[in-house]
Symmetry: none
Subunit: 207 residues, 4 copies
DNA sequence: CATGAATGAGGTTTCATTCAT
DNA sequence: TATGAATGAAACCTCATTCAT
């Protein structure tokens, strides 16, 4: 759980972690609302209730703040999915998948703005930081792979390319966020969930 | 085909149109490479082989340039899809769909960077301009709706929510661009095409 | 007479040259008074009667301003010495040397602050810029070498290491500037001149 | 040996003295390498192995640190020269001068960077602190004056202006440091020493 | 129509210094 | 005594936009 590569003047690891988490939480609504580039350090400091100097005590630069925030939320999200997948382990694979999809789409709906933000601003990161974020994203996909793999093992599912399907599940959630402005007039979240659940059941050979 | 709402000092409509098309074409690679916010007017002017003054003669401000460029490329893309759909009108619906998907995914692959850019920078527009872009996007979806509607009319397809499926086709193309970094290690474009074609055939009840 | 390596937005060479000369002249008293590091861009802009933006239109950064100023004054100084040496060409070598030394020390006295500044701030330059300045300094030394070489050729002087003596002349002028605070209580410029003239006559074997 | 005018919170004179000596020694390489202005208090504290707070406990501000360091090194250097001059007291004046010059130039060669630093950064001091440093420099010159005066007394030397010659000796050492970049290609330290020794012997009438 | 020099507000970042602990 | 987190003024620099030519 290293936060490395981000410069700090503090050598108190606990404080660093605390402050960076605080920054990640405080800055998210601001970033989501105004976009990364359009948000000034001054605004960030204000939102964090810190002085600009204090901010730069725990962070090497503006871009680090973006990385910290993306990392924080993606980690949180991955944890959420992991718990979801794990908690559905007691159900038969088919019912487990149905339940996970339902909850995942519900969560996707709740964190629309954040999802959009991820697609928009990841490119603002340096390649090295981008790799870290991509790693987190892969972890997210991996959680769904676990779910699918379990079903394959038990013989309930039959899947050619597990990663592809897992990615497709993730993306289907994202799509609800990215295209809400269009989908809003087309179907409700419930219909969207039903439609896609049916598809994925077919795709995994469980229909 | 109004270009309105964008201020200009010129009253020669033909010239305005010409210059704006030129700007749209010249600025695209720059925007795609550096991002909208990080591209300066000076760079834009240079890429367009115009002086900064000339730029402002045909355009109200930096944001207008983004709108013009997005509008231009989206219109072009919509036209491409329209021709694709129309040209497949001679085929039976099932084969038409297969062909359109294949060509569309191929085109998605070719214009990856642009697609990514659309998702990233549309939010940099004012609401009014964003609406215009959304309208273009809806036109794009509508082309696929046409294709699907034709199949329904002939009885070959059976679809609950045509718009939903059409949108799903569009987004599936986008996802190849947005998630290429992950998908690259998972499957080739051909596999991606095959996988999704199969899905959509099922989704329209033609499998 | 290239001014290269210094970024500019202008492509009008004449204007660039003019503005940079203007900057060099305007900034000198400020730099000499406050030192390079302690002088802010805002102060520089004010002294140049330019806006900060205009400044950065002709100059890539603060350090460039230092380089431009050092270059400008050193070039001027070298030209002065060159003319001095050339104009003494009509005199016999011994008398020429005496005259040149007298004038050079007088000039050293007049440009004390500038000399001090050179020793202090050359180190603020990047190595590449420092090389340029060193080149100018070598040109200055070369002028005195010319004078000494002439005397050697005619048989009036007898010198082992011409560059060493030429450099010593230059530095003797500098020292009047660098150690004025001490020398002031020890001797007048006239005495300093007499003392060192006698020395150099001995050193070149013309006493 | 007052260290006055420099604020401190401590009232333990021994500790003050110890810490300031420690600071002077620790900070020198840093200052020499980066320059005074470009060195931050944080770096200084780190180099001194002290906290920033501790630093300010024994020192009034950043500038005091510069003064302390200059004072410390100049005092050390003066002591070195004093011992050199005293130890040559057993030799006849002419041989004493030769020996002192040789050792002094050797020492000048060894402390080039420091010498350069003195010329560059003394101006960063407030006038009052500058006076203190000048006093130390005068003490240095005074040591050489002692040497010359001894020779005059014994009738071996014949000098008009002892201070001027003493200063010239000091400066000749400095010159080796200040102009090394040029002299390097012109002569070795040995040649430089020989050349100047000969001169000074003439200047004091001992050749 | 076209040019590009000029503006200056506002961006990010640094850093000497203080003070609660 | 000692610590180091916090401050915020001020540093350097960029850039969208204008307007005299």
């Amino acid at each position: 759980m290293k936060k490395t590569a981000i410069r700090t003047y503090s050598r108190n690891d606990k404080l660093i972690s605390e402050r960076r988490d605080h920054i990640a939480q405080s800055v998210a609504p601001l970033f989501v609302k105004k976009g990364y580039e359009r948000t000034s350090i001054r605004e960030i400091a204000e939102a964090c209730d810190m002085s600009m100097g204090a901010l730069y005590y725990y962070v090497g630069g503006k871009e680090d703040i973006l990385q910290i925030m993306l990392d924080y939320d993606l980690t949180l999200y991955t944890k959420f999915v992991k718990e979801l997948v794990d908690s559905s382990g007691s159900l038969p694979p088919r019912e487990g998948l149905i339940r996970v999809l339902e909850q995942y789409f519900k969560a996707s709906d709740a964190s629309q703005d954040l999802t959009l933000f991820f697609y928009q601003e990841t490119k603002s990161l340096q390649p090295s930081a981008r790799e870290i974020i991509k790693g987190r994203e892969r972890s997210l996909v991996a959680e769904f792979e676990k779910l699918l793999a379990r079903g394959c093992k038990s013989g309930d599912f039959k899947i050619d390319n597990i990663t592809l399907v897992a990615n497709q599940i993730v993306v289907t959630g994202h799509m609800w966020a990215l295209r809400r402005w269009l989908l809003r007039h087309v179907c409700s979240l419930e219909e969207y969930t039903r439609h896609n659940t049916e598809y994925f059941l077919t795709a995994v050979g469980a229909n």
